[in-house]
């Protein structure tokens, strides 16, 4: 990565400042850049996940560049919003967005998964300021976020907690413990975002019926109904459509709520990179140079040159 990054870097230092907070084009540009940073960083360090980071990218970008009340210059402010990346294997997505948002220099992404790095394979909050949660063992983030939301309310802080979960991850029972308790405590300051990309790591074999195909861990199950029955507010959106994402986030934070909100975001695993989209095999993977070139074109970033 070279100085060709400067323009992006500058943008991240004054994020969407002068412009309207809601320039969808600007958000799209950030997300495309972050996608590029993710796949190229993973390729450079020869390990890491690809599909999940790409499906989650627009949702994370919208949080960090639009919705969340945060200050990269003072990442530990106690009144800040919190973001819990419960599906911690998508760390590179979060790092890419945080770098672009000014939490650290984009060049530091080169240390991803290297010895002594602050950018661990799975997020380690003891290493990187601005990282609100450690994760990696799936299924724990909603419970942690539930505690954050409860703590914020008890401390009288107007801090909203956002938790991103994978659609495979929510097979973990611990998630449902949190679903139950969060509703019981009416944690309106808690929002879960399910990255419903239809794939997990190895997944379920098709069995010739309406259930259990590798194409969707929850096919045949009305996830919205499940959450609603447990007492949650459910918002279903296209997780790659910024207008929908931003609207859902506004709604989720909204006042006069007595329920936690879940945003079921329909997404595409590998989104934005042609050969990775919908490919279960790209859960993780190392792109070749040729594939990297192709990715840059797919992302519409060929104008910014070799990085």
């Amino acid at each position: 990565m070279t100085s060709k990054h400067v323009d992006i870097d500058t943008m991240s230092r004054a994020p969407l400042g002068g412009e309207s907070r809601r320039s969808f084009a600007a958000l799209e540009r950030v997300a495309a850049t972050a996608r590029w940073l993710s796949i190229s960083t993973v390729a450079a360090s020869q390990a890491g996940h690809v599909g999940g980071p790409l499906s989650a990218m627009d949702l994370i970008t919208a949080l960090y560049f639009d919705q969340m009340r945060i200050d990269p210059a003072e990442p530990d402010r106690i009144e800040r919003d919190r973001f819990v990346l419960s599906k911690g294997h998508s760390s590179i997505a979060l790092y890419s967005v945080m770098a672009l948002r000014g939490y650290f220099d984009v060049l530091e992404l080169a240390t991803f998964d290297k010895i002594d790095s602050r950018l661990q394979g799975h997020p380690d909050r003891t290493r990187l300021p601005g990282l609100d949660a450690s994760s990696g063992s799936l299924g724990q983030g909603l419970s942690f976020g539930m505690g954050l939301a409860l703590g914020a309310r008890m401390a009288g802080r107007d801090s909203h907690t956002w938790v991103m979960l994978g659609d495979g991850e929510i097979q973990e029972g611990m998630v449902w413990e949190a679903v139950h308790v969060a509703a019981r405590y009416r944690l309106a300051n808690l929002t879960a975002i399910v990255d419903h990309n239809g794939l997990q790591q190895y997944g379920w074999e098709p069995d010739g019926n309406d259930r259990g195909d590798r194409g969707d861990p929850w096919r045949g199950i009305d996830l919205g109904a499940v959450f609603r029955s447990f007492g949650w507010r459910v918002i279903e959106i296209d997780g790659h459509d910024f207008p929908q994402i931003l609207a859902a986030y506004e709604l989720a934070r909204g006042a006069n709520q007595t329920r936690p909100t879940v945003i079921l975001a329909s997404t595409i695993k590998g989104k934005g990179i042609s050969y990775a989209e919908h490919q279960h095999a790209w859960h993780n993977g190392i792109a070749s140079q040729e594939q990297l070139d192709r990715a840059r074109v797919d992302l519409g970033l060929d104008d910014i040159g070799e990085m």
């Binding site: 450690s134 063992s137 419970s143 029972g173």
Partner: protein
Amino acid sequence: MTSLRVAWADTLVADARRNERIVLLDADLATSTKGDTFAAALPGQFMQMGIAEQNMVAAAAGLSDHGFIPWMSSFAVFFTHRALDPIRMLVAQTRANVKIAAGYSGVLTGLTGKTHQDVQDLAIMRAMPGMVVLSPGDAMECAQMVRWANEYDGPVYLRLARDAAPALPAAAAFHVGAVSRLVEGGTVVLVSTGVQSVRTVEAAALVTASTGVTPRVVHVPTIKPLDEESLCAQLAGVDLVVVVEEHSVIGGLGGLVSEVLCSRAPSPRVVRLGLQDHWGESAPNADLLDKYGLSPAALAQSIASYLNIDGANNG
């Protein structure tokens, strides 16, 4: 003869009255753990989390991020086995300021049996980096530990017991890491922890009465971080160490003492008394202690047998 659970609850209530950041989370066992004392005294600082230990642990970590000092109430085994993964990732790995009140440890769990007893917790928790593991011998020591834990910024595992606990004789004031000598004695030392320490003192008296040998008795209230020098100082000059614990003989205090002594050769012989790698069962306390050789009488008998062997070897 206050039990550890009562001492824990009462001390916690006292501290929490002065510090409203101290809160208690319960996994639906407060009537057993005595967390209900806290709930009654300070309902605004008490939160029911339901029968869902993993979620409770993670929620506690979240609360600590907002400056609270969360304690959790459940049985030891449901922390160390059911909720071990969030304890690891969200508490120990992040050094969260979360306190685990591990009730009903050991085998004396009120007629519940092997599913509710925890005789592996010391082995499990002391292997976890960053965890402080405390095992009080009586109510007074327990109270000191609760107060210490409220001041200490980091994860603490406090091993509690259900039933009335007689006072330790001559226990030193609690200092984290330090080992205290309960009974002066000769070339045999009995090392114990938790409420078993008092039973071990009683066993020592029986040994003296029956053999004339007066074993030294040492109590280890801090399993981690142990002050190894303090332990070695207490064990200096002995030629037989008998570790006694209401815990498996694998990996717990016996393992700890063996590791420390072996790292400084030559080591005296270490005999490990406790559950000999089997599960417990449900029965009245006296029956369990006898069956597992942990009652003062049963202990005295096996200690005496080692004295003979040892005498034979050394004489």
